[in-house]
């Protein structure tokens, strides 16, 4: 792990005040390839933590470790929420969502495309409904208050459909929605598992500027009203700089910077990772100018 250069203290986020997710010494190896190398950080409750970094930096691998799709080689992942402490690295993939209520979305949207929009949101409440239906036995005979529970599930789905502005499309197949709607539906579906932390893998990818700013509003709304943590992988710097409270920068699997957006933007390590170290490795000037523009706070208002 590279050393982070000395920083003015007021710019670094005092994370650890109310940590929701603590990642300690996380390492993930695939054979000889080290995808994540000794990464530690923490994400707070009621905070948006953005994870950024160049392509191949290990961001999605980190997500897959947190959400149980990979079992980390080394490291501890502690989730403290609702009075319980969960050690995520010891849990089976689906149990992380079932017990610890860690929700996620995917870089390439994964909806149940042949099922209706509403059904997508009902499936997300599977475990609660399973219990209410007496593991299908009593539900099959219409006993045990399953009807009532299903109605409640539909109400929760309705709430989120209203929030993502898809209520009028509730009964059509999810696969028939336009791309931007599918992205929002995936977030709504993740929210239906009543998460403690919501992990979003490039939610703004492929959205136009208007959709992107609507997404920002939605994420801030979720953070403020539902008091959960958000973990965000994003390439779109306008999104990152505008809404995140805390930014973690990865490069080649290592953490190179960690702090407020303001701090990270001026961190020489980050600039080096994005813009190249010397002339031989430098990006073409027009690309470098583009990236610099993205980082510029004056510019992002126009997006």
């Amino acid at each position: 792990m590279k050393e982070v250069s000395t920083t003015p203290p007021e710019l670094v986020i005092p994370s650890g005040a109310d940590p929701l997710l603590t990642v300690e010494h996380l390492t993930m190896r695939f054979g000889g390839l080290v995808a994540i190398d000794d990464v530690s950080f923490s994400a707070g409750k009621g905070e948006i933590t953005a994870i950024i970094g160049p392509n191949g930096a290990g961001k999605t691998t980190l997500f897959n470790c947190i959400t149980g799709f990979y079992t980390p080689t080394v490291g501890r992942l502690t989730l403290t929420a609702r009075g319980e402490e969960y050690l995520l690295e010891r849990m089976d993939g689906f149990r992380i969502a079932q017990k610890a209520h860690v929700a996620r979305t995917f870089q390439n949207i994964r909806l149940f495309s042949e099922m209706s929009v509403l059904e997508n949101l009902i499936v997300a409440q599977h475990n609660e409904l399973m219990r209410a239906s007496g593991f299908t036995v009593t539900g099959l005979f219409g006993l045990g208050g399953y009807r009532k529970k299903e109605k409640e599930a539909a109400d929760l789905a309705r709430y989120w459909l209203d929030k993502v502005n898809l209520t009028h499309l509730a009964d059509i197949n999810a696969g028939n929605l336009p791309y931007g709607d599918q992205r929002r539906l995936e977030i709504a579906r993740a929210m239906c598992i009543k998460p403690t932390i919501l992990c979003l893998d490039e939610p703004a990818a492929g959205l136009n500027p208007k959709e992107s700013s609507e997404l920002n509003k939605l994420l801030i709304y979720i953070k403020d009203e539902h008091d959960i943590g958000l973990l965000l992988i994003e390439h779109d710097m306008s999104v990152v700089m505008e809404i995140s409270d805390h930014v973690v920068v990865l490069d080649y699997g290592s953490k190179i910077s960690d702090g407020t957006p303001l701090y990270v933007r001026s961190d020489p390590n980050v600039i080096r990772a994005y813009l190249g170290e010397d002339e031989d490795e430098a990006l073409p000037p027009e690309v470098a100018a583009d990236i610099a523009k993205d980082f510029d706070p004056e510019n992002r208002e126009g997006v």
Binding site: F94, R110, I122, H126, S133, T136, N165, A170, N176
Partner: protein, 447 residues
Amino acid sequence: MNQSNNNTTAIDFKALLKESGIAALVALGLAIVLVGFKTVDTPTGMDITTRWVWVVVAVASVFVGRLAFAVRRESKASRAPVHVDMKAKENRAAIIVNRFSTIGGPLFIGFALVLPFMPFADRYVVDVATYVLIYVMLGWGLNIVVGLAGLLDLGYVAFYAVGAYSYALFAAYFDLSFWVCLPLAGLCAAGFGVLLGFPVLRLRGDYLAIVTLGFGEIIRVILLNWYEFTGGPDGLSGIPRPSFFGLELKRTAAEGEQTFHQFFNLDYSTMHRLIFLYYLILILALLTNFFTIRIRKMPIGRAWEALREDEIACRSLGINPTNTKLTAFALGAMFAGFAGSFFATRQAFISPESFTFIESAVILAIVVLGGMGSQVGVAIAAVLLIGGTELFRGLEEFRMLAFGGLMVAIMVWKPRGLLAHREPTIKLHPNGAPPPIKQAATEGGVK
């Protein structure tokens, strides 16, 4: 054809002729061997005769058929608008399916209920109808595994065999009645479903199909070779018939018991038993149907469909894929077990001959042709395929040709099955969607 050529691209007849020629060439290659030569018994032994006329007929009909098919396709393509309205297409499918299931469904059931009392319902008709209903039930059972859970199962007949043999063996060794054995056979088959399910949990699609295919063969080979227990190729005979609430459907009853015709003061007729068996399988099949319709609206049913769509997304929502898959295998197998024990009691004799791979293929064909997941579609496909091939019995050796032709015709005409539309299991707007709220311009739908 000429009118359509004016505004769009002309049909390339040369290419079409070439396409038909190639098809005819393939047909020629097949027909020379399959149709061209026939072995005949002569007093001195076997002899080969040739039937070149039939070869010419076969090749010519393939050529003409392919050409007609291609011309129709091309003319349709040249006339079709560039943008096909998928929404309208889907709506039309929805209307057709709804009409079928709201009017057609009860109509079918009503017809099935009165069938044995129709004037034309002789012994043969009731027998064929019973046979068709076994396949309807198997189709509905497999529909749980393939149509809902999306697990391609090529060894479904194994569970059918388990059900049949468990009834026959329970009856032979423990002298249990049909009504006790029916649930036991279902449980046994479900147990085997879980047994098969465990090793294949990680497999999908083609790989899963191969393993299930192997499982089906393993069961058959065990039944064939475990001579002491299952009777091997000799099979099991003398399987007891079911009773009607304790009344035997026989000419004479055992000491101190009554038979069905004595109790109801009827003349003895063998039709009674056939009609009884017909109603028995009808009830079992309808039970399967209502169970499936109901469980689709349960969380487990929705989880099956979600698993078919995307397993990774299911895991991210906290759905246990292991349990979900195993219940699909177990419940699908259970209905095959019920059907199997009915089959055993109807035939009174079973042998491994009845449970070959072709049976699995036919059941799978019924599900796929009916439209995966569609209950009415599966029933129609079973009637067409099983009843149809009975109708073609007069064609003798060309019967399988008719069977295959029917399958190809359905797949060309309806590539996704007869009734492929899927109705959502829960609706927010049962009476049609409200117009979209124009919020985006002001608030973006948030707050």
